[in-house]
Subunit: 305 residues, 2 copies
Amino acid sequence: MAKTYDDLLAKVAACPVKKVAVACAQDDAVLEAVKAAKERNIADAILVGDEQKIKTIASVLKMHIEDFEIIDVKDTYEAALTAVKLVHDGKADMYMKGLIDTKSFLKSVLDKEVGLRTDKTLSHVCVFDIEGIDRLLFLSDVAFIPYPDLETKANIIRNTVEIAQACGVDNPKVAPLAAVEVVNPKMACTVEAEELTKMNEAGDIKGCIVDGPLSLDLAIEPQAAFHKGTTDRKIVGDADILLFPDIQAGNITYKSLVHTAPCKNGNILTGTKAPVILTSRSDEFEAKVNSIALGAVVAEALNNK
Amino acid sequence: MAKTYDDLLAKVAACPVKKVAVACAQDDAVLEAVKAAKERNIADAILVGDEQKIKTIASVLKMHIEDFEIIDVKDTYEAALTAVKLVHDGKADMYMKGLIDTKSFLKSVLDKEVGLRTDKTLSHVCVFDIEGIDRLLFLSDVAFIPYPDLETKANIIRNTVEIAQACGVDNPKVAPLAAVEVVNPKMACTVEAEELTKMNEAGDIKGCIVDGPLSLDLAIEPQAAFHKGTTDRKIVGDADILLFPDIQAGNITYKSLVHTAPCKNGNILTGTKAPVILTSRSDEFEAKVNSIALGAVVAEALNNK
C-alpha cells in the first residue's frame, strides 16, 4: 500500500515503463516535467505538436530531447486528436495536456472516435502526501465538477476509490466532508453525506467504507476524534478519501494545503479509459512530475484489470 | 502593525491588563487557558460558576487559583448572565464561554438587559499566523454563519475589518474567495464577490480594499499571482482578510490549516459590544490562550474608540 509519493515511485519502478502522449508539447513547463519524468524512469513520452517550437524551447532551456519521439502536428486541435488517439490505440498509456486550452483538450478526451470516453462521470482526483499524516489523502472534486448532485457525488466516490485502489489502498475510507459531523437539514451537503453512507451500506457504492457527514478534523486527525469522544463512527481520523461538498470548499482547501502545508501532491482526471494529466500552469514542477507518476500507477492498474 | 502572534502579545503587554469574565468556569481546559493568560500577563479573569467545582478542578490539576476572583453561581444560565453583566457594566473587558452549551451562551450574549448585543451581525473571526506568510490572515466566517447572503457578507467584512484594524492593519485587503478568480454566473459566490467589490468602491464597505472573486493562491501567494500574470488586480497575493463563500468552505479550510500547516491561531466572536471568546473543546490549549490575547487587543481598540 502506497503511503507516500516515494511509495508511489517505488510502485512505478516495479512496472514496465509507461508512455505519456502529450498534446501540444510546445510548453516549457510541460517539457521540463516530461523530461524529468523520463530521467527518473517514471515514464517516457511522445511529444505531439509543433516540432519546431518544441525544439526551440528545448534549445532555450538547454534541454536534450533527442531521445523523445516527436510527431509534428502544427494545428492545436489536430495535435490533441493525434496524441489522444495514441492512447486510444494503446500506443501510449496516458494523455497529458500541453499548450492547449482546457476546453479543447477536454473535447479531445471525449472525442467519440479517438478519445478516452467511457460511460463514467469525468472527475478530478488530487493525491496528497502531507507531513504528519501517515497515509495518502485522495481529494475530490477540487477542480472540475462545480456543484455535484447526489448521484454525481456517488460517481466521484466510485472514480476516486479506483484511484485509491490503484495506489494499493484496497478498501479506502471515504469521508463526505461538511462543517459539522451531524446531519443538519438546513445544510444539504450533510443530508447528502448521510445518503451516500446509506448507499454504501446498501452496496450501491462498493469497495470502500463511506461515513459522513464528517468535519475535517474528525476525518483526518485521530486525536480530534479521541477528544470529541467519537466512538460510534466508522471513520475516526483515518479517512483516505475526502469528498468535498462543492468546488468552492474543495478548491480553497486544496490551495490552502499546497500553499501552507509541508506536502507533495499530484493530480489526474479520471472516469476515462486511461489516466489524463491536466496540470495547470500554476502547479509546481514537482506536482507535474508527481502527476505523471500517479498516472503511471493508475495506468498499470488499468492494464492489470 | 501586528504581523504575528508575538506582535499581538507585544501589543497586549503595552496596554493596561484586561479582564475576562468566564461563564461557568468549572471547565478544566478553560481554567488552564485562563491561568496561562494570567501568568503571561495577557489578561486577568473573574471566574463565575460553581465555586466548589472550580476549586476541585484546580486542586486535581494542581493549579493555584487563589489570585482569581470567583463569583459563586451554581445555575448554569444564571452564571452566564452574571458573567456577561460584568462585561456589560464595564467591570470586565471580554466574555468567555466555559462549561455551558453554545446556544445558552449565545442567548446570554444577546440578552437585552445585561448582554452585549448591538445592531451589528454577529460573526466569527479566526486569526492565523502561518509560517511562510508575512502577515496575519483574518478568516471569516468559518464557524458561525452557515450561508451568508450578500448583505450578511458585507456585514462580515465590516466586522472583520474592525478586528484587523484593532490589530493595526489599517486598510486591510479583503479577498472574497471562490474556486476561480473570474465571475461565473453559474457560481453565485463569484457574482456576490464582484458585488462586494463594487460596494467597496461605492463606499458602502469602508476602511478596506475589497477585490473578488479570488482563488486562494491569488489571494495569499504573490508568486502565484506573478505566475498567472495578474497585474490588473488590487490584491496580488497580499490579502489580509479571507471571506469564505459559506461555512463548508470556511470550516474545512480552517481545519486544514489547523491540522496540516505550521501555524498559530486564535478566534473571537464579533459584532458585539465587547469581544466574546467562544473556543471549542477541540481547540488546542495555545489557541485558547491566543484567543484571549486577541480579545485583549480588540478590547483595547474598543476602549480607545
